[in-house]
């Protein structure tokens, strides 16, 4: 890092190739092309970077984001559901002296919007006194009648998108009041940017973020009914299909609160409860990331699958705090903008400190006329369709006419907004820095009167030069935002995780989480068994190909029913490994790929439980599966098996390291053990029914191989290998950690852990298991190693054992999982 005596000339060389468009404000250089003072230090650092160092910064950023699975999903993405979030490591720098005015303006706007929200659902003074037109509010789809005249808490969370005009002033573009997203991404941007830039910019003092998240949690916690000391807070998410699901999980983990979806919750007596593995647990506050209309199929949209029946009542009765309250989406109506200045004067006795971009609502005659004549110079938006933004100058003559007709038919629906030329900032494009237009999303949390502002925010830049369409959905990039300080350091941010838990109730393990972990483990274990069975098959197949012995072919066909346990569809006799591989990788239900995708999806659902640094193993597993699927015509079975087994091993290792038994690790273990013993039992049953006497030695060899017991068997019995040794080793040998009995004993201690009141005896599941274990302990391998019918006896024994374990699984399911029945709407 260069010192203060930095050679400004050098920095200006850096800017030589950096050409901001004319008549725009550039964040880094002024009109004369000189560096702005607060950029000098950073530009010095950039100047030291040659093109390869610059492109390394970009690659390193991508690597880190990929590793941690930082996603921003793009709907209808041809590249698949999950896409790595796009972050540019070069931050936006803002001088310290600029920030207080912005802060004050944002806090004022938040306060005003919060007052308006409570007014619109209550006394409606703004409407009665003509400060805001009735039509604008009454026709807005997020003005929700069931909330009228019910208790509405202030707007706790607020985000505003700002842009800087050519005159250097900041303007408000949009208000985000429904469930503002992005704050979590800022935190992640800070972590990654900080690490990628490393020590080189270590001297920079930046306003820390951690404090804001503490404030946020305090404001949210204060919404708890009866001002409870130790409120249970949950974040209500639409689930893994949402574009910012990553953030929901990330924030929940960072704030130490529970991540939930609608069917994790139930309303009882007007209170909201969380379905946990132990019981129903009262939820005091919800951070709402589901749009209001979707939150209650009883009172709001009846077709919503994301909500909780009764939630409207719970909020109205004041029995659950909601950030933000249901109904807050009405404030996002762009048509409200022109009425805020008068409202601020009337209610706050102040002028608006932060201007909003000039807006004309077409529901008013004069304004409509203005818009209709000025279309090419305006941005046209629909108040009830936030996504429908049109740049007037990009319309053909015909489209313009269509728009005019639409505005004339439903004028209330449209606003025209002044087109602002957004400021530019250097953005990393490959190995060079190019100016890109930016929008800054700022974040606030408050109680209706006082608002805390996050210092900085999420800067987003357009992907293309000249483009002012800035959104993640259209390929934009994000940046960290540094509000520079004279002293202090950036390090405080890292304290967040430790300090944020405070006096809030610990996050509960939801039934959903338990259920998903259980199934993730089952699917993974099943995949592993299949992979091992297939490998054992291939080893035998290779021998057959090499030597051509008839017996090998017979053994292969006796082994086939084992593979058929897993794979859907019939396999031909002695299928080639290629055929097998394709059957494993096609997308149909039951295939290897299908199992692994179910497992990965289940893990995503509980991603808040997963520490970021071990998330990599899941990303890698998913990449492997996707790669194998795409190349299923060419990837060899052996190329597939080992990397997948390694990835799964890494998963188990990471999960053991990071998931405490109480925080879900238990359910992973139970799911895994139960699946493993089932697979072993059913494999042996399938084999016993097919066994061709005389081939048994080779079949048993393959069986040992498929269960990873070849070596341990040899150590124990030397070269001896027969029914007796194998049945004993695989089923009854307590010293063999892979044996059936050993696995069941492990399961026994896991189930004991689940028993909440062991002093009153065993649970149903424990009883079943005890029965199974006792039978196994009393069994003698000799009985299954004798004449022909002894294999039949073994098959019956294991078949029955498998049935009882299935019952055990069902019992666990009934006792601990969600059992949400489908919602039925009454007929009318």
């Amino acid at each position: 890092m260069m010192g203060k005596d930095l050679d400004i000339e050098l920095a200006q060389q850096l800017c030589a190739g950096y050409q901001p468009p004319p008549a725009t404000f550039d964040e880094m250089v002024d009109e004369a092309g000189k560096l702005r003072p607060h950029w000098q230090e950073f530009a010095g650092f950039l100047q030291q970077c040659d093109p390869s160092a610059l492109s390394h910064l970009g690659l390193e950023t991508v690597r880190r984001l990929k590793e941690q699975g930082v996603h921003y999903n793009v709907y209808q993405d041809p590249e698949g559901k999950r896409r790595t979030w796009q972050l540019d490591p070069v931050p936006l720098l803002l001088p310290e002296q600029e920030w207080p005015a912005l802060e004050a303006g944002l806090a004022q706007r938040a306060q005003l919007l919060s007052l308006l929200l409570q007014d619109l659902y209550g006394p409606q003074r703004a409407l009665r006194e003509g400060l805001v037109p009735y039509e604008l509010v009454m026709r807005h789809p997020e003005f929700l009648r069931p909330l009228l005249n019910t208790r509405i808490s202030p707007m706790t969370l607020y985000a505003a998108d700002l842009a800087r005009g050519p005159d250097g002033r900041w303007w408000v573009l949009h208000d985000r009041t429904q469930g503002p997203s992005g704050a979590g991404y800022v935190l992640e941007a800070r972590f990654v940017t900080r690490r990628v830039l490393g020590q080189s910019v270590g001297q920079y003092a930046t306003a820390p973020l951690a404090q804001f998240f503490h404030q946020l949690k305090r404001h949210v916690g204060a919404l708890a009914p009866d001002h409870q000391d130790n409120p249970t807070i949950a974040l209500l998410s639409p689930g893994i299909g949402n574009e910012v699901y990553f953030e929901h999980a990330y924030l929940a983990a960072q704030l130490g609160i529970t991540l939930v979806q609608g069917d994790d919750l139930t309303v009882r007596n007007g209170h909201v409860y969380l379905k946990t593995v132990d019981d129903l647990r009262r939820v005091d506050v919800l951070i709402r990331r589901v749009d209001s209309s979707f939150c209650d199929p009883l009172s709001l949209r009846p077709d919503s699958m994301l909500g909780v029946p009764g939630l409207v009542q719970a909020q109205g009765l004041g029995r659950v705090g909601m950030a933000n309250p249901l109904g807050s989406g009405v404030l996002e109506c762009a048509g409200i903008n022109p009425f805020l200045p008068a409202l601020a004067r009337a209610w706050l006795g102040e002028d608006l400190k932060l201007p909003a971009v000039a807006t004309w609502w077409c529901g008013q005659d004069k304004e409509r006329k203005h818009v209709l004549t000025q279309i090419p110079n305006l941005v046209i938006k629909q108040i009830d369709r936030p996504g429908a933004t049109v740049f007037g100058d990009q319309l053909t003559r015909k489209q313009q006419q269509q728009l005019v007709d639409q505005i004339k038919t439903t004028p209330w629906r449209f606003v025209g907004q002044e087109r602002l030329s957004f400021s530019t900032v250097p953005a990393l494009n490959g190995s060079e820095l190019q100016p890109r237009h930016l929008v800054l999303r700022t974040f606030l949390a408050g109680d209706g009167e006082q608002y805390d502002v996050m210092p900085g925010g999420l800067t987003r830049v357009a992907h293309e030069a000249d483009s002012e369409l800035i959104s993640g959905q259209s390929g934009g990039w994000s940046k960290d935002t540094w509000v520079l300080r004279k002293s202090g350091s950036m390090r405080d941010v890292l304290r967040l995780r430790v300090a944020s838990h405070g006096r809030h109730a610990a996050a509960a393990l939801t039934s959903r989480a338990a259920e998903n972990l259980y199934w993730a483990a089952s699917y993974l274990e099943r995949s592993e068994s299949l992979l091992r069975a297939a490998t054992a098959y291939q080893t035998r197949y290779d021998t057959w190909m090499d030597y051509g012995f008839e017996q090998d072919a017979r053994v292969l066909n006796q082994w086939l029913p084992v593979l058929q346990l897993y794979l859907p569809g019939a396999l031909p006799a002695t299928p080639a490994p290629d055929t097998l591989r394709q059957a494993m990788l096609i997308g149909t239900s039951g295939s290897l790929a299908w199992n692994l995708h179910r497992a990965i999806e289940a893990v995503y659902t509980v991603r808040d439980l997963w520490p970021a640094d071990s998330w990599r193993v899941i990303e890698e597993l998913e990449e492997l599966v996707t790669y194998a699927e795409r190349n299923r015509e060419v990837v060899g079975l052996d190329q597939l098996v080992q990397p997948l087994l390694n990835a799964m091993l890494a998963f188990w290792g990471a999960s053991q390291e990071s998931l405490a038994l109480t925080q879900g690790g238990l359910w992973l273990q139970i799911g895994r053990r139960l699946e493993r013993v089932q697979n072993m039992a059913l494999t042996i049953v399938a084999l016993c029914r097919q066994l061709h006497e005389g081939d048994e030695a080779m079949v048993l060899e393959t069986l040992l191989d498929a269960h990873g017991c070849t070596v341990s068997h040899r150590r124990r019995y030397g070269m001896e290998l027969n029914y007796l040794t194998v049945w004993h080793h695989l089923l009854l040998d307590i010293t063999n950690p892979r044996s059936l009995i050993h696995q069941l004993q492990e399961l026994e201690s896991l189930l004991h852990f689940l028993n909440r009141s062991p002093q009153f005896g065993l649970t149903d599941a424990e009883k079943i298991l005890l029965g199974v274990l006792t039978q196994l302990k009393l069994a003698e391998a000799r009985e299954w190693a004798g004449a022909d019918n002894s294999r039949g006896m073994l098959a019956r024994f294991l078949g029955e054992l498998s049935g009882r374990l299935r019952q055990l699984g069902t019992d666990l399911d009934h006792q601990y999982f969600r059992h949400t029945q489908p919602i039925t709407q009454f007929a009318r």
Partner: protein
């Protein structure tokens, strides 16, 4: 609710439209309304909203009201909804395969008001001013289309046939009510709750709910504030027959906002009546979906059947 309603067979004459002096005794009516849902399977949890309590109005006193739900709800809460109607919310926590909601009320109703008093040109009853400062707050939620009540030029034109420029509101309303009554055929079963208005218009047929929706659309289309009203109507047995219990039905009509002085003026196009002491008003909303008698969701249950029985009777004072 897709139940058909019964037209009054006799006993109702246009005389009901004559002014009712305030001093006249009010007619005392009782209503029993039972709604039963039978599920194919068991439902574990049920959540419902009901609009069954007659709305207290200057022209209607609520003397008694009871609501009974079987199985007994663990939680029942009464409140006023967005439009000032009484709303019940209840939760059933135990498994059930049948839900029965019984509502019983006694009200005293005034005879129909003198519509002739609405003598100003109808245009002057429009809520005033775009910004609303001059208008009546109560009316502003009733001038815009809803998903069930779209507006269309042909409907407004239909209204303008009688809402000629400058015509007194009362006169125009009576003509409008009679026009719908004449032009549309009352045809139970022709429509259900979700039949679009366009279809009702096309066939010129439907039931009370359709006529009410249609009238509301026409009136909003010409700038008046109009509401959908749900309630009951006193019916009379055929001569020589006794009145059958449960044979009545819930009923619906429309109302026009005629300013603070006159409040909502209600007309029943199904029967070509001005709403008076044979109608019981339950709820006023923008359309049917704002205030259905009962709506709800349950977990599980599967297919279900709905049965409704309504009995309206006159009580001696």
């Amino acid at each position: 609710m897709s139940e058909s309603e019964k037209m009054p067979d006799s006993g109702v004459s246009q005389e009901t439209a004559v002014a009712a002096p305030v001093a006249l005794p009010r007619r005392r009516l009782s209503v029993r309304h039972e709604t039963t849902y039978r599920y194919q399977g068991a439902a574990s949890l049920g959540y419902s909203l009901a609009w069954l309590t007659p709305r207290p109005l200057p022209t209607q006193d609520l003397r008694e009201h009871h609501i009974n739900v079987f199985p007994k709800p663990r939680f029942l809460h009464e409140s006023l909804d967005a439009f000032g109607n009484v709303q019940h919310y209840f939760e059933i926590h135990k498994g059930h395969s049948e839900l029965r909601i019984q509502s019983q009320a006694v009200v005293e109703c005034c005879a129909a008001p003198d519509i002739g008093l609405l003598s100003e040109p109808w245009e002057s009853y429009r809520p005033q001013g775009v910004a609303g400062a001059e208008g009546d707050p109560a009316a502003w939620d009733f001038v815009y289309p809803t998903s069930m009540i779209p507006l269309a030029d042909e409907y407004s034109d239909y209204a303008r046939q009688v809402f000629t420029p400058g015509r007194p509101l009362g006169e125009a309303l009576l003509a409008f009510n009679a026009q719908i009554h004449t032009d549309f055929q009352y045809l139970p079963g022709a429509t259900d709750v979700d039949t679009p208005l366009a279809e009702v218009w096309e066939h010129r047929a439907g039931v009370c709910q359709d006529f009410a929706h249609f009238a509301v659309s026409c009136l909003r289309g010409i700038g008046l504030a109009a509401a959908y009203v749900s309630g009951y109507l006193l019916t009379y047995p055929r001569p020589g027959e006794s009145k059958r219990i449960g044979a009545d039905a819930s009923h619906a009509w429309f109302a026009v906002w005629a300013g603070v002085e006159h409040d909502w003026v209600q007309l029943d196009p199904t029967n070509d009546l001005v709403v008076g002491d044979e109608h019981i008003v339950v709820a006023i909303g923008r359309d049917y979906s704002d205030t259905p008698p009962v709506k709800g969701v349950c977990f599980g249950g599967g297919q279900h059947q709905l049965a409704v029985g309504v009995t309206v009777e006159q009580l001696t004072n």
